[in-house]
């Protein structure tokens, strides 16, 4: 009823191709962003910020990066954590080794460094494909885990191999309170999301998608697989690198390579597949699902137990959490293999016609 496009006529290509072609969408998203910037900080407590929202924002950014590579370019990666690690450690080194380096610049440089490393690790994709490539990217993952543990230069010779950074500041704004951290990450995420959306709509994104759908055919119509695959690796790693730097600088403050382990890589891949491959919004859905669900289950289950009059041990909670989490993943994949983003799109189609579907 409210979601109608009757009477909205596009009179130019530009109007037809804009990101949100329907004004309702545009306003809804705009309102959401405004709410995220203004409303959320007023409503939410510190726990929500620190334990849920900040991790959610940063992992959304990372999922965006993985989605570019996996969802748009069709190259499965299990080495996303490695790119995050490169970003985090590179940013750390820029920050401490260059005098007067602004934190934001260090974070972006960390992203660029991750992009450079990503290109190197993307080279096998020119030869190896599919699941073979997925496993091959694990080489990058384990190599980075090792390198940041072993090579002392990266950690500024810290005896324990763990590094830490002080609160960062941005043009005189010291980001220390949870709200600051939230706003900072949100700002970066919004900018990067807009960039990603435009990137995948443009020439480069179309090349990626052609490669994904059928790389031989794409080559035949004149797309250079090397160029497009490696750009996908670079852009994806850039996003991941920035996310990694944020994870270290803003979320943890002090970290070790275990923060970017294989579990992180799998988690990110989960987000993209559950959220929806090849959809920007899918990255957010996926991140929300994977970040919030375990925490939610973890807090819900003792409650359910106490309602039933059972004393639930934390071990049992954690096991049941595993079981439910795993089952939900399988369930989602069965119900909608294209992810929550597709569910959402289907819902929207229905909404367009509601309440008169014929």
């Amino acid at each position: 009823m409210f979601y109608r496009e009757n009477g909205q006529f596009k009179t130019s290509y530009k109007a037809d191709q804009q990101v949100f072609a329907i004004p309702q969408d545009r306003w809804a998203i705009f309102a959401l962003v405004v709410f995220a910037f203004v409303g959320v900080p007023m409503l939410v407590d510190e726990y929500m910020f620190r334990a849920i929202l900040v991790p959610f924002l940063i992992l959304s950014l990372a999922a965006l990066g993985v989605n570019i590579l996996v969802g748009y370019c069709g190259q499965i990666t299990l080495g996303a954590g490695a790119s995050m690690a490169v970003g985090a450690y590179a940013a750390y080194n820029f920050l401490i080794r260059v005098d007067g380096m602004p934190a934001l610049a260090a974070i972006l440089l960390g992203g660029l460094m991750a992009a450079a490393v990503g290109i190197v690790f993307g080279v096998p994709s020119l030869r190896v494909r599919g699941l073979y490539l997925a496993v091959a990217t694990l080489a990058a993952q384990f190599f980075c885990d090792w390198a940041f543990l072993r090579i002392k230069w990266f950690t500024n010779n810290a005896s324990s191999g763990s590094v830490s950074v002080a609160d960062i500041s941005l043009f005189g704004w010291t980001i220390s309170s949870p709200t600051d951290k939230y706003l900072f990450c949100l700002g970066i995420l919004v900018v990067f999301s807009v960039m990603a959306k435009n990137l995948v709509r443009g020439n480069m994104g179309r090349q990626w998608m052609a490669i994904r759908d059928m790389d031989v055919a794409a080559t035949v119509i004149g797309i250079r697989p090397m160029y497009s695959k490696l750009t996908a690796f670079a852009v994806s790693s850039f996003y991941l690198g920035v996310a990694g730097a944020l994870w270290g600088f803003v979320n943890l403050g002090s970290w070790e390579p275990a923060a970017f382990s294989i579990d992180r890589s799998l988690q990110l891949l989960f987000m993209v597949i559950i959220g929806g491959m090849g959809a920007i919004s899918g990255s957010f859905f996926g991140a929300a699902f994977i970040v919030i669900l375990p925490i939610f289950l973890n807090q819900m289950l003792p409650l359910v137990g106490s309602l039933l009059g059972l004393q639930v041990s934390i071990a049992l909670v954690s096991h049941v959490e595993f079981i439910i989490f795993g089952s939900l993943i399988v369930f989602f994949l069965i119900v909608e293999p294209h992810g929550i983003a597709r569910l959402w799109a289907t819902g929207r189609e229905k909404l367009r016609l509601w309440p008169f579907p014929h």
Binding site: I52, S164, E256, A258, Q299, M300, A315, W344
Partner: protein, 443 residues
């Protein structure tokens, strides 16, 4: 974005509900302790007994009538030994029931992360026997308390012990020591000290890292077989320890020459190796397995006999159970100390708790009174020394149980102090912290 909002709303509701349900009526004053434990995952066999001992002592304190009438309350949260889960647990629990008194993460990774947050939230981080060694310096690490032992101190004692075995530290010249360590900040902690000691005495340290979780060590032990070190120091956790012992057995390395840190010297590490681990030594962080101590009898009598104990009865008195129990005891005693200054029978805030932890003075009489006589030595902390006691001894596995096989040792301040000052100075510079002076401490 609907789903996200729904999920956020739902979890908000859940948090609200659970808070509403678990908050008991405030009858007497209550002191809240978050319990960050891991009873699942790769490190569960070691994390579980620790958590059981930890909770049992809080129960025991209540059974004894609390601290001047103040009851201990606690809530467990499963970290799975993962840093991000641990941080989430901390954030979830720190504000409950009027605020957390102190937090004990039992993971070096989580400790590193919480070290950043503790000064902001004003909640002391107690890391009895783990954490960063330089945090002994209370001037820089105002909120970290590596009570009773740090890894540098542990490594120092091990070197002293083998020095004594050889007949003097100078006899260590030309000896070879291999360090088999968990490839993480935890495992790397002792390296700095061992290298310092190696420089002093002229022995050689070879470093053999083992990747998490430590189930693949064949190559490591082949190297040991080749280089035939005089001693092997084991710095493992969880399944890595038992795997090391099994590989040592499989490559024929004498277990008598293996020395573990206190986290590599408990029942889960050796019990499924059994006789294969016979002769293996490990450092005891003051206490070992103490089934005959008075406090254990009290726990059995007051809790387990009434069916209120945590975990199986057989576990009470085991090494890691005792570690948990003592960690818990230290925080309870700090509450008592803080009450002495800020008012008996009152709830203690995190800041007051810090004062209590910095002015902990457990003399022999106090220990005897708690049933811990013979289990541990007196502990006295100060504002600048957050460790409080540098005593340790060695115990040996005889195939069935752990027996003490050495006298008490004390970490050498002449070696440790300069290293602590150097490392904490570097940290202060990095984090732009102004170290506290003795005057600041008086406040």
């Amino acid at each position: 974005m609907k789903l996200r909002k729904l999920a956020v709303a739902a979890s908000l509701a859940a948090i609200g509900l659970s808070a509403a349900l678990t908050t008991p009526a405030f009858a007497a004053e209550e002191q809240f302790f978050p319990v960050l434990a891991y009873r699942t995952g790769a490190y569960a066999p070691n994390g579980t007994p620790w958590a059981n001992g930890f909770v049992d002592y809080l129960k025991l304190t209540n059974a004894r009538g609390g601290v001047n009438g103040v009851k201990m309350i606690w809530e467990e949260c499963e970290t799975g030994y993962a840093t991000d889960r641990g941080v989430e647990c901390y954030e979830r629990l720190k504000g409950k029931h009027g605020g957390a008194t102190a937090v004990q993460p039992l993971s070096t990774g989580i400790t590193f992360a919480l070290t950043e947050k503790a000064p902001v939230d004003k909640i002391p981080v107690i890391t009895a026997g783990y954490g960063r060694s330089e945090s002994q310096n209370g001037a820089v690490f105002g909120w970290n308390f590596p009570l009773v032992g740090t890894y540098w101190m542990g490594a120092d004692v091990l070197v002293q012990h083998i020095g004594k075995k050889e007949g003097g530290l100078d006899k260590l010249k030309g000896k070879k020591i291999a360090l088999v360590y968990h490839d993480s900040p935890y495992g790397k902690e002792p390296i700095a000290l061992l290298q310092e000691r190696a420089r002093m005495h002229g022995f050689e340290v070879s470093l053999l890292p083992v990747a998490h979780p430590g189930v693949e060590q064949k190559a490591t032990w082949l190297q040991i077989r080749q280089s035939k070190p005089d001693y092997v120091f084991l710095w493992g956790w969880g399944v890595m320890n038992s795997t090391s012992l099994k590989e040592a057995q499989a490559t024929g390395y004498p277990r008598e020459k293996m020395y573990g840190i206190w986290w590599a010297g408990a029942e889960p590490d050796v019990k499924d190796v059994g006789d294969g681990a016979k002769g293996y030594n490990a450092l005891a962080m003051q206490h070992g397995a103490e089934p005959d101590s008075k406090v254990v009898k009290e726990v059995l009598e007051k809790l387990h006999a009434k069916g209120q104990g945590t975990g199986p009865k057989e576990e009470v008195g085991q090494v890691l159970y005792m570690r948990g129990l003592i960690s818990s005891m230290l925080q309870v005693e700090a509450v008592r100390a803080a009450q002495g200054r800020y008012g008996k029978g009152k709830r203690i805030t995190g800041e007051q708790m810090r004062w209590g932890l910095e002015n902990l003075n457990l003399d022999q009489k106090a220990l005897d009174g708690m049933g811990l006589g013979g289990v541990m030595r007196p502990v006295q902390t100060s504002c600048l020394d957050h460790m409080g006691s540098a005593w340790a001894r060695v115990h040996t596995w005889d195939g069935k149980k752990w027996n003490f096989t050495s006298d008490w040792y004390q970490g050498d301040e002449k070696v440790l102090r300069p290293m602590v000052m150097l490392a904490s100075g570097k940290y202060a510079e990095e984090k732009k912290i102004k170290p506290r002076t003795p005057e600041d401490c008086k406040k």
